[in-house]
Symmetry: C2
Subunit: 92 residues, 2 copies
């Protein structure tokens, strides 16, 4: 069975985020003054084969701990779904 | 009212993703052979003030089109919620 895992990696709230601050400055310069905060992170979509959802989740948790996220400064969240048809929402 | 918008920016499927390929190679080197694909993207959390949800969504759409995503090579998806309590799921 093929699974599609979305991994969201964000800096912990106490960690400085220079990229987010730069984006916030850019948005203010464009006139979006109502923006009070921007935090930047990584969004990874991992496609993998596994026997069941439990195995898939365990594997993605292991990958995230070992490679995808740095647990010292980053938090992460994993969302898993079985891949029947790969429908990806796209911006226009 | 304060809103929290999550913006997911991904490369269009037809665009090469060297970062994703590198991560896939790293996962294979660590023994995660069941991984068939990795796509990397950006995950931005924008906090903003707006009168209502429609205004907030329109602003975030405008920001994304002007600065956050490059429509030529990237797709995006926006998820909006009103910020009552900032609960952010974190990995352990």
């Amino acid at each position: 069975m093929t699974y599609r895992a979305e991994v969201f990696v964000t800096l912990k709230p106490v960690v400085n985020d220079p990229a987010g601050l730069t984006i916030k400055g850019g948005l203010h310069a464009l006139g979006f003054d109502s923006v009070t905060d921007v935090r930047s992170g990584k969004y990874l979509v991992v496609t993998l084969d596994a026997a069941d959802e439990g195995e898939a989740r365990a594997r993605v948790e292991a990958m995230t701990g070992q490679l995808l996220a740095n647990a010292v400064i980053e938090d992460y969240r994993i969302e898993l779904r079985s891949e029947v048809s790969s429908v990806q929402g796209g911006g226009s």
